[in-house]
């Protein structure tokens, strides 16, 4: 069902210019409830900029953005926190919204960092901090999650678990997710819609459509296209609404 009410954020021909240079232009995309939209593209292609346009961080943009929700969770790509602040993980969890102790514990457990709850934020490793950032974003049960390279610095097994968690969250909370990822494997397995950026939208569509696109191949190379085709398989079952598996 595609109704207007399911749309969380909609970019129409959006772009952002800084010092007379376009960081990204002409981006149109829609994030709906329960859907994962992934942005891919080489460095400097405007992925983070697009996310910031969608979030309303950049003010003087071209085109327009319609945002239909204020319940937003954001995991930025780069975060510089000033350590002159005495800040524990549990203080950080309450940063933008007052949430219950139970929800904090639950979110920290889901990302596997509940044991760090009373630690000072400055003493965490990069991967640990990344898990805390994800926990903070999901703990407020947002309607829209924007994840900018959410698993950077996380160990390999953790990475897989966290992507599974992200997929679960989109299902259970039926929130829309705007994901930025370098990991083409992930893009294939969990995403509903892929937008391939290179200063502008170079192609978009379902993961398979994008994989077959010639511009995509030109951008990422023939190999990348083959990575994706590995995942092409026919589903021999469907999920019922209660989550049971039905064979076709």
């Amino acid at each position: 069902m595609r109704t207007e009410n399911n749309i969380l954020v909609k970019l129409h021909n959006a772009g952002f210019k800084q010092n007379n240079k376009w960081l990204v232009e002409g981006v149109s995309l829609t994030v709906e409830k329960g859907k994962i939209v992934t942005l891919i593209g080489p460095n400097g292609s405007g992925k983070s900029t697009t996310a910031k346009i969608a979030l309303g961080i950049y003010k003087n943009i071209e085109g327009n953005v319609e945002k239909y929700t204020n319940k937003v969770g954001y995991v930025p790509q780069k975060i510089s926190i000033d350590w002159t602040l005495p800040l524990r993980v549990c203080d950080f969890m309450l940063l933008t919204e007052s949430i219950s102790e139970k929800d904090i514990d639950e979110a920290l457990s889901l990302t596997g960092v509940i044991h760090l709850k009373n630690k000072n934020l400055g003493n965490l490793s990069g991967g640990e901090f990344q898990r805390v950032l994800i926990a903070r974003a999901i703990s407020k049960k947002p309607e829209l999650l924007v994840l900018d390279e959410p698993v950077q610095g996380v160990d390999y097994t953790g990475e897989i678990a966290l992507y599974e968690l992200i997929k679960n969250i989109s299902d259970t909370l039926s929130c829309g997710i705007l994901l930025i990822s370098h990991d083409l494997h992930t893009v294939m397995t969990a995403t509903d819609h892929v937008v391939c950026l290179n200063g502008h939208v170079c192609c978009s569509g379902s993961p398979m459509d994008v994989a077959k696109n010639n511009e995509y191949k030109a951008l990422f190379g023939e190999k990348a296209s083959q990575i994706l085709t590995v995942y092409e398989h026919k589903h021999d079952h469907v999920h019922s609404e209660e989550g049971e598996i039905k064979k076709n």
């Binding site: 309303g56 961080i57 954001y74 930025p76 926190i81 005495p86 950080f92 940063l95 933008t96």
Partner: protein, 267 residues
């Protein structure tokens, strides 16, 4: 009870410490100590305006400091000069203009020292009212903007992305800074107000592991400094402002021992 100048000074100082405690934490966290200095320097211009136009000192200082803060924000947007150069420019030019204007006001006898370093004798019951009512208002507003202000202090983009409107919080905080300088200028003096904001907060940072604790310790540190400073100024016949700041310095030095201990514990 408020007939005694010392009791008045004590109550004025206590009222100020309650406000500078939490505000000082934000000054430290947001690296605004030079900004506080600039506003304080411009306060001299406010004082001269109060004398020329026969206004209340606190109100006129508040107005001038707010205007200077607004000019600073505009200059930051319009010029390519670095922030500290702009702060220096505003601080010293407003101080200089203030002193030049004083030169013209030959018909008024000015207690320049009292203005620069605070004067215990100058605190009147009216000043007490301004400090306590103004202080209560400042704290109330700070409590209202606490969440967006704190969140954007930690990370601006997170606060903006999650709908907290950090720009508005920052603008309101700037006004609060002007207000706290206005109510404390008579007591601490314009050269030492920043000290009252920063030193108790810096002391609190050394002994706290959460933002709430830091605010609490900062208030306690400020209160202790006021009481210790005022009693010693009475004892040794020193000026009130410097005595309060010197007392807070002693507390800061004591707090350093606590850091040493915790570093030892970690090893």
């Amino acid at each position: 009870m408020f007939d005694d100048f010392f009791v008045r000074a004590l109550f004025a100082g206590i009222g100020i410490a309650f406000v500078t405690g939490p505000l000082g934490c934000f000054v430290v966290w947001r690296r605004l100590s030079y900004f506080g200095d600039t506003l304080a320097h411009s306060a001299l211009l406010g004082v001269t305006m109060a004398y020329t136009l026969d206004l209340n000192i606190a109100i006129s200082v508040f107005l001038i400091s707010s205007v200077i803060a607004l000019i600073l924000i505009q200059l930051q947007k319009k010029t390519n000069l670095p922030g500290d150069a702009l702060l220096g420019l505003l601080a010293h030019s407003s101080l200089a203009v203030g002193l030049v204007v004083i030169g013209f006001l030959t018909f008024i006898r000015f207690d320049i020292m009292g203005l620069l370093f605070g004067d215990i004798l100058a605190v009147t019951t009216d000043d007490l009212l301004i400090i306590w009512i103004g202080g209560a208002l400042i704290l109330l507003v700070l409590k209202l903007i606490w969440k967006p202000l704190f969140a954007s202090t930690v990370n601006y983009e997170l606060a903006e992305a999650e709908g907290l409107n950090p720009d508005r919080a920052k603008a309101i905080f700037t006004i609060l800074m002007a207000a706290v300088i206005a109510i404390s200028i008579k007591m601490v003096g314009l050269l030492l107000i920043t000290g009252m904001l920063i030193i108790p907060a810096a002391m609190a940072r050394n002994i706290s592991d959460s933002p709430q604790k830091m605010v609490l310790f900062s208030i306690i540190g400020g209160l202790l400094s006021v009481v210790l400073g005022l009693y010693s100024s009475l004892e040794f016949n020193t000026s009130s402002g410097p005595s309060i700041i010197a007392a807070s310095l002693v507390l800061f030095i004591l707090s350093l021992f606590k850091i040493k201990q915790s570093i030892k514990l970690k090893n």
